[in-house]
Amino acid sequence: MNPLAKLLEAALFAASRPLTLEELASLEPASGEAAVRAALDELCAAYAGDDHGVELVEIAQGWQFLTRREYAETIERAQFALRPRRLSPAALETLAIVAYRQPVGRLEVDEIRGVDSGAVIDKLVERGLIEIVTRGEGLGRPLLYGTTPQFLEILGLKDLEELPRLEELSVALRPPTPAEPE
């Protein structure tokens, strides 16, 4: 490949979107559009045919490397394109409280965390990790939350019994007991 074609290959690979002819030409202004066109043709040809897993495609008035259709399903199934999502510390804390205190209401979560946890709870519900399991007694009969089967699945637990017992945590998460004198 000629040097310009190799530069275009690198730029097209690193870009997160299709690059227009104009953008590609701006990489090396001295080359001129005709040279860029020629280099693109060369690059296209190098990836055409049946010898690569990716191809250079003209798309959205620009150019982009895409995987060949025949591999789409296999790759999508593997979900490599995306990094596994992790929960934020706030979400984990809320999840921990729900797991150990279920069924538990929003006010109690707020109180333990010392911050408004409404948004975090909604997100956890949306992700299918917790759900409304019942309504509490008392004023307004608040919604009470518990963990879902998906929560167990993600953690690889058979059932809630498999969560470590509170006593095993260095400080137990348990209903408050009166302070002991030292």
């Binding site: 690198a10 690979f13 690193a14 870009a15 997160s16 979107r17 999508e76 979900q79 394109a81 995306l82 990094r83 596994p84 999502r85 992790r86 929960l87 510390p89 984990l92 804390e93 999840l95 921990a96 409280i97 797991a99 150990y100 006010l107 707020d110 109180e111 333990i112 965390r113 010392g114 911050v115 408004d116 992700r127 990790l129 993600i154 953690l155 690889g156 637990l157 470590p164 945590l169 260095s170 400080v171 137990a172 998460l173 408050p176 007991t177 009166p178 302070a179 002991e180």
Partner: protein, 256 residues
């Protein structure tokens, strides 16, 4: 909202950006990443031998810098200042000739400085590695297709347990909120110093702390001195290297 109302922590007014974090005071300072970094900086600047630290000189410079940068409210720096002063004092103690038992009071600090210096070298290495990696671009991150399945969610049991523990410490329940008061007696030390200065125009460090001061007493006295100096009630100076500190009453000025 039912957030527990805790009494406001008493933060002394200060010109420094001191952020209160859950774990204590953290000083956001770009120049130095901590007292050890500042010490190393001074050592490099003076081109002195780290293993034979001129402790009196370094201690004075350290105090001057944290004063100048307004770091004399930051616990980490204060603690180091107190440590330096203590070592300086220990170096001044007379020792018998041929005393095999004598252990260089600087050795622990020197060990920590060497260890920290090694970490700084690793930091430089890591920085170079990161810069080199940054010369290569990976595939650009693509917006996931709107109809594509969401990325797999990953939760580690350890993470969840750690979160549980973080949360536990937040439970507004007296038993779990064991606050250990710092056993410093800055007020007492302040009174003692003011009483001393009321009688004498000038006094020395040993007049303030006595001969058998504990670390806590030294720390308390030191903080009291800094505070009083800051208020302009007294001045602290050292006529020459290794000379004892001279504490001098300032002409009565209104305390702001």
């Amino acid at each position: 909202m039912t957030a527990p109302t805790a009494p406001e922590p008493q933060v002394p007014p200060s010109s420094v950006a001191v952020l209160q974090e859950s774990a204590g005071f953290v000083v956001e300072l770009e120049q130095f990443s901590g007292p050890l970094d500042l010490l190393l900086h001074l050592i490099r600047e003076d081109e002195v031998d780290i293993t034979d630290l001129p402790i009196a000189k370094i201690a004075d410079q350290f105090l001057a810098v944290i004063h100048e940068l307004g770091l004399d409210q930051a616990a980490d720096y204060l603690e180091m200042a107190a440590r330096l002063l203590r070592i300086k004092a220990q170096m001044l103690l007379p020792r018998r000739l041929g005393d095999d038992e004598w252990e260089d009071p600087r050795s622990e600090l020197v060990r920590r400085l060497l260890e920290y210096q090694q970490i700084r070298e690793l930091v430089a290495w890591l920085q170079r590695a990161a810069a080199r990696r940054a010369e290569q671009f990976g595939r650009g991150y693509e917006q996931p297709q709107p109809d594509a399945p969401p990325a797999p969610l990953q939760i580690e049991l350890n993470e969840l347990l750690a979160a549980a523990e973080r949360v536990i410490t937040l439970i507004p329940e007296p038993m779990l909120h064991r606050v250990v008061p710092r056993p410093l007696d800055v007020e007492g030390a302040t009174e003692r110093i003011l009483a001393l200065l009321a009688e004498h125009e000038e006094c020395g460090w040993s007049d303030v702390v006595g001969l058998r001061a504990t670390i806590v007493e030294v720390l308390s006295a030191f903080i009291a001195l800094l505070e009083l100096a800051k208020r302009g009630s007294l001045t602290i100076r050292q006529p020459e290297p290794f000379a004892p500190m001279v504490i001098r009453r300032e002409s009565p000025r209104e305390v702001a």
